[in-house]
């Protein structure tokens, strides 16, 4: 067995764990990080940047948002089913965190942006090659890690933590893990920060804790390694549990690797129907992935079909799409028709093409007559206005010309939220709200601030919560570990 000693052990090196390690080591603690994977950054390596409120970037870009207005809107949105003290502290610190990322860690931001037209400019996009690119999260994570290392943090890669050890007096005293060669590693310590990113890759735990069934009514990103380790270890160490939820959105489950134009076109505000062939949403909401995910989740078999005709397709291929967002913003979608044919040839079950509405209905498993009725009614409303859900008339384009295209959307999620009970200092609490001495937790393992639905109107929220609570946990843990 290999043995090490530290003041603070951090479990996990996504943005929460990295920030906790960087903050704790900046505060003078000796930090050791246990990480399961070979690459630091966790799920956030797919992300683009964190939330900030009241930052220099927002000031420069003349964005009118401050902590007070954001806090009020957030609490209204969540109906106060949220830890208001945590939300307040998180928002209040978010601008300083952006500054810390820039000045201490060396992260460069391209600016503060919306995710989609109806959202706020809270999303601080990490610059890629000096401008806007994708997966800047990976670059940010590298900078935080390097800053933590400069401060003396030691990283143990491919070394999953297995157990948090308590001494006889109930205080945290060590973390035990196993390294890539199979050797046990024990790090004696005074405090532990858990930041393992939830249980997105553990269908059984998702079912037990959220009720969703993976690949039945929930097609979340099963990011390899997110098994709920931290949530389990915390519970074993005496932590209280919180309700768990997912960060709801909607997706085409089999189109990750395909060309971007397919999701981009089918996410446009055209006709969206359920298995009964009925509309169920004002499709303008399709830009809000949370709301649309919620709505699809509510439908029979948790599935929805986005339908366009050749005329709409041709229009997009020529002129570009109506609504773009940060993730789906192809320069053009001219290759849409070809991409659909390729997808179908490659057995992508999400995408369908048909020469008649009847054939389309059959391929989608929807009652043909009901679908025809819906389309007839919809086409009429394209002239008179949507008197069912009041969608703006600029998005009302009739479904008339063959071939018809459809895509099958499902509820998805980035991962899970919540599990470990903490206070606003990221101190882990028991079920009776007592502190578990020396145990801290951050990030999605603890995130219950959204109540029932992800607060998508302020994008960058989850990464923002992770980095900020990571810093809270890091400074609380360092302070605790360095007390006498």
């Amino acid at each position: 067995m290999k043995t090490l000693t530290a003041d603070v052990v951090v479990i996990g090196s996504g943005p929460s764990g990295l920030s906790a390690a960087a903050q704790a080591s900046e505060d003078g603690a000796k930090v050791v990080v246990f990480e399961k994977a070979n690459v630091s950054g966790g799920a956030a390596n797919m992300g683009m940047g964190p939330l900030g409120i009241g930052t220099k970037h927002q000031q420069d870009m003349m964005v009118d948002i401050d902590v007070k207005s954001a806090f009020k809107e957030f609490m209204e949105y969540t109906h106060w089913r949220s830890d208001a003290r945590m939300v307040k502290k998180y928002f209040e610190n978010s601008a300083d965190t952006i500054k810390w990322l820039e000045e201490s860690c060396g992260v460069e931001f391209a600016g503060a942006y919306k995710y989609f037209p109806k959202s706020h400019e809270t999303w601080h996009i990490v610059a890629v090659n000096g401008g806007i690119g994708r997966n800047g999260g990976a670059i940010m994570n590298k900078h935080i890690r390097e800053y933590a290392e400069e401060n003396g943090t030691e990283f143990l890669m491919e070394t999953p933590a297995k157990k948090i050890v308590k001494s006889d007096d109930g205080k945290i005293c060590a973390v035990i893990g196993t390294d890539a060669s199979g050797e046990e590693v024990r790090c004696d310590c005074k405090a532990v920060v858990i930041a393992t990113g939830g249980c997105g890759d553990n269908p059984q735990m998702i079912k037990e804790r959220t009720g969703y069934e993976f690949q039945k009514n929930m097609f979340n990103f099963a990011i390899p390694g997110l098994k709920g380790d931290g949530i389990k270890m915390a519970a074993e160490a005496g932590a209280g549990t919180t309700p768990m939820n997912v960060e709801m959105m909607y997706i085409l489950p089999n189109s990750d690797a395909g060309p971007d134009c397919i999701p981009a076109v089918f996410m446009q505000p055209n006709l969206l129907v359920n298995k009964l062939g009925q509309r169920f949403i004002d499709e303008e909401q399709m830009q809000n992935t949370t709301f649309t995910g919620n709505a699809i989740s509510f439908q029979k078999d948790a599935i929805a079909f986005s339908i366009i005709d050749s005329k709409i397709a041709k229009y997009y291929m020529k002129k570009g799409v109506d609504v773009v967002n940060f993730v789906h913003h192809p320069d053009d979608v001219a290759d849409f028709a070809e991409a659909v044919d390729n997808s179908i040839a490659n057995d992508n079950p999400d995408v369908v093409k048909a020469d008649t509405i009847e054939e389309l209905a059959e391929k989608l498993g929807v009652d043909a007559e009901a679908l025809q009725d819906t389309i007839d009614e919809y086409n009429d409303m394209c002239e008179t206005g949507d008197n069912l859900f009041y969608k703006p008339s600029k998005y009302m384009r009739p479904i008339e010309k063959a071939p018809f295209y459809a895509a099958k959307f499902r509820p998805g999620a980035y991962g899970t939220l919540g599990g470990i009970k903490i206070n606003e200092d990221a101190q882990v609490l028991t079920q009776e709200w007592e502190k578990v001495p020396g145990l801290f937790a951050a990030g999605t393992d603890t995130c219950t601030i959204y109540g029932d639905s992800y607060m998508f109107l302020m994008p960058g929220n989850t990464m923002g919560y992770c980095i900020n609570t990571g810093r809270f946990a890091g400074s609380s843990a360092a302070e605790y570990a360095q007390e006498d």
């Binding site: 890629v128 990283f155 890539a180 060669s181 199979g182 990750d256």
Partner: protein
């Protein structure tokens, strides 16, 4: 070729001494200076095609690829050269031109070298118009899954398959004007793939992988354990691929020596091992597992004794170990204990040593000369005394008699007679007594025998019954056919010999007349469920049936011969009268006493007993002041040839059947003829050994490294 000279160069301001045959990349990495590299791999010839590893050299125009450029004296290298950094970013962009822009859904996420490099280079691509490779996943091949839409054409798979393995089942080919990695042939099997998975090991992205089931089975294991399942699933971790390779090389005695390194009974195991190795063998994804047990037997048949010259023998320690029970576990402790220099006394309740190898497993399956020979080797290992026909009543008493340590391994030799009406009628027997009598030549059966139970011991009882002249043998058990604990192989022998199976039956009563059994009432069961932790079931009305029987044999479990009262034997007990032993080495409730084998675990297997006993003797030796080291290298060093070569339809080679004597002959002539199974001859063994996938070769390939693997090193400078 000129000889390598010592050179001194400077990389990023760090002075490095190396030799002139070292590349700049290797010199930098060895000194904790990371240069991104992708097409370069420790086991492959440098190619310099990915342009990731470019560096600037003072006095040299432009940049050079550090994976191909050798170090020269006085060289000054700048890995962060401005042009080099630009080229790296551009190379990254080119890779992402074809690679999916989203990582979601990729099982390699978190362990992807491309993601790590793009994180390091600080360029996540997508500036160039995406031009994805348009192809669907290929799940038509066994073991190896292709999702080539993620391929970045680094060519490592093609090179490892050609250069290192000499197989060449992967190649570059232009398809519709696009360069792709494709299979050279209709599919992997037809293309001559050896399924060594080197391609999986070197793939930096999620393009070539093994199926989820295979990869999941490796979670939490080390590379060595995970890549070589036959070896890691063997309780004693016998180095299976190594001895199979020796058979392939024609060095059969060396193969035996490899087995000897971990177990003292290679020959007996060659006949009767439960072979967890075969259950784990990856060849079953192609057709059937390699017939490992028969190869072991073949190797053991070619023992030339040379290994004895290399075996360790420590000087006498003056310490005394008492071993209670001379079965596989007790003999293993005696063997290694004696070699470690301790004086061993084996207390054996029966007349002869061997335990279940002699008194449980019938002689037609395991010839007694094999057991005798291997027991003899144990007795010759050092100072070993045997007290046969001696039952130990109290274990701690032996400590008082002057033994420094005691090892308890008295097995499970008392058969369970289930509490049902008629269980004490004449003609009703229990498995353990019956098989012991069979061994001693005193067993008798009537014409119609019913064996109750569904495990391997029950199968042995049916075989013994036929050989004793039974006209009919029926076997009834609770388990359904597919859920029987007997192995498929052993059950098929019983079926060949004529056993009639009655699955999913309960047996509420043994019928009798005049004090002698006449039949067994059986009844179908259904609706198995758990209630309060116990399995319960419903009896199905109207399914009652009587099996005619003048002999009934209970083969429904067996227990140790230890009294239920703890104070009698002197050790804490568990689950009735099993010895309570803790940890892998089997510490009991009394200091100085260890226990292992069936009397701790319940009836398992010879190999499990040996493995547990090895752990116990290590602990005992340490307790007695030794180092607890029983490792020994008995086989010559093996040349592990990474070159496999292309073999068309290699994956379809069928499992070699051993020379089993036909059922009527083996039953009729069991007393005069040899064993029921003659194993492999040389040709069969060579043929079977050639089927091995040599999964262990993958361990020789360098594990993938990431930029952060070099960080700590840099700090240490």
């Amino acid at each position: 070729m000129s000889e390598a000279k010592e050179v001194t160069l400077v990389i990023d301001g760090v002075t490095i001494k190396t030799t002139s045959d070292t590349t700049i990349l290797d010199a930098a990495l060895a000194n904790g200076i990371y240069i991104p590299h992708l097409c370069s791999h420790e086991n492959l010839h440098p190619e310099g095609s990915c342009r990731m590893c470019v560096v600037g050299i003072e006095g040299v125009d432009g940049v050079v690829t550090s994976c191909t450029e050798k170090c020269k004296d006085g060289m000054v290298v700048n890995t962060k050269d401005e042009t080099a950094e630009k080229i790296r970013k551009l190379s990254c962009d080119f890779m992402f031109k074809t690679h999916p822009s989203e990582c979601t859904g990729c099982p390699k996420f978190g362990k992807c070298q491309l993601a790590s490099i793009s994180q390091y280079v600080g360029d996540t691509g997508r500036k160039l118009k995406a031009n994805p490779i348009n192809c669907k996943e290929d799940t038509t091949n066994p073991i190896i899954l292709h999702e080539m839409h993620r391929c970045i054409l680094c060519g490592r798979c093609v090179r490892v398959c050609n250069e290192v393995r000499g197989v060449g089942v992967l190649k570059f080919k232009k398809v519709n004007g696009r360069q792709k990695v494709v299979i050279d042939g209709e599919n992997l099997k037809k293309g001559g793939c050896r399924f060594c998975t080197a391609c999986v090991e070197v793939c930096p992205t999620g393009s070539i992988r093994e199926y989820k089931e295979i990869e999941d089975a490796r979670l939490g294991k080390t590379r060595e354990e995970g890549f070589v399942p036959c070896r890691s699933e063997c309780p004693a971790h016998v180095n299976v691929p190594e001895y199979i390779r020796f058979i392939n090389q024609g060095n059969y005695a060396a193969a035996n020596a490899v087995i000897r390194e971990k177990v003292p009974f290679p020959h007996a195991l060659g006949y009767i091992c439960v072979h967890n190795c075969e259950s784990a063998c990856k060849h079953h994804y192609l057709n059937e597992a390699v017939s490992i047990r028969n190869l072991k037997r073949f190797a053991a048949e070619h023992d030339d004794g040379e290994w004895k010259k290399l075996a360790f023998h420590k000087p006498a320690t003056g310490k005394k170990i008492a071993v209670i029970g001379g079965g596989p576990a007790g003999l293993t402790v005696a063997y290694y204990g004696a070699k470690l220099g301790h004086s061993i006394t084996i207390f054996e309740a029966q007349e002869k040593l061997g335990g279940q190898m002699r008194y449980g497993i019938p002689g037609y399956r395991l010839p007694r000369e094999v057991v005798d020979d291997e027991v003899q080797t144990v007795l010759e290992a050092g100072d070993v005394e045997v007290k046969n026909n001696t039952k130990v009543e109290n274990a701690p008493e032996l400590l008082k008699q002057g033994y420094d340590a005691v090892f308890v391994s008295l097995g499970t030799h008392v058969g369970a007679r289930l509490p049902l009406p008629g269980n004490d009628l004449e003609g009703v027997k229990v498995n353990t007594d019956f098989l012991r009598d069979f061994e001693n030549g005193t067993a008798e059966v009537g014409e119609h025998v019913v064996v109750l139970g569904g495990g391997n011991v029950a199968i042995d009882c049916t075989g013994a019954a036929f050989r004793l002249g039974a006209k009919t043998v029926d076997m009834a058990c609770l388990e359904a056919y597919d859920a029987m604990t007997a192995s498929d192989e052993e059950r098929s022998w019983a079926e060949e010999e004529g056993v009639v199976l009655h699955n999913s039956k309960t047996f509420p009563e043994i019928k009798g007349e005049n004090g002698h059994c006449t039949g067994v009432l059986i009844q179908s069961v259904g609706n198995f469920r758990k209630e309060n932790g116990r399995m319960v079931f419903d009896k199905l009305e109207g399914t009652e049936e009587i099996l005619e029987a003048d002999t009934v044999i209970f083969a429904t479990g067996q227990r140790p011969s230890i009294p239920m009262e703890e104070e009698k034997f002197g050790l804490a007990l568990t689950h009735g009268n099993y010895v309570a032993a803790q940890g892998p080495d089997g510490e009991t409730s009394v200091e100085g006493i260890w226990a292992a084998g069936d009397c701790v675990t319940g009836t398992r297997s010879v190999i499990a007993a040996i493995a547990a006993a090895r752990d116990s003797i290590i602990a005992i030796d340490k307790y007695l002041g030794g180092e607890g080291n029983i490792e020994e290298a008995l086989a010559p060093k093996q040349f592990r040839d990474p070159h496999l070569g292309k073999v068309e339809n290699f994956g379809d080679k069928e499992r070699t059947a051993p020379r089993v004597v036909p059922a009527p002959k083996r039953v009729a002539e069991y007393k005069t003829a040899g064993p029921m199974d003659y194993g492999f001859d040389e040709e069969m063994a060579r043929c079977e050994a050639s089927r091995c996938l040599q999964c262990d070769l993958r361990c020789d390939l360098a594990p993938q490294k990431f930029w952060n693997d070099y960080q700590g090193k840099e700090k240490a400078e």
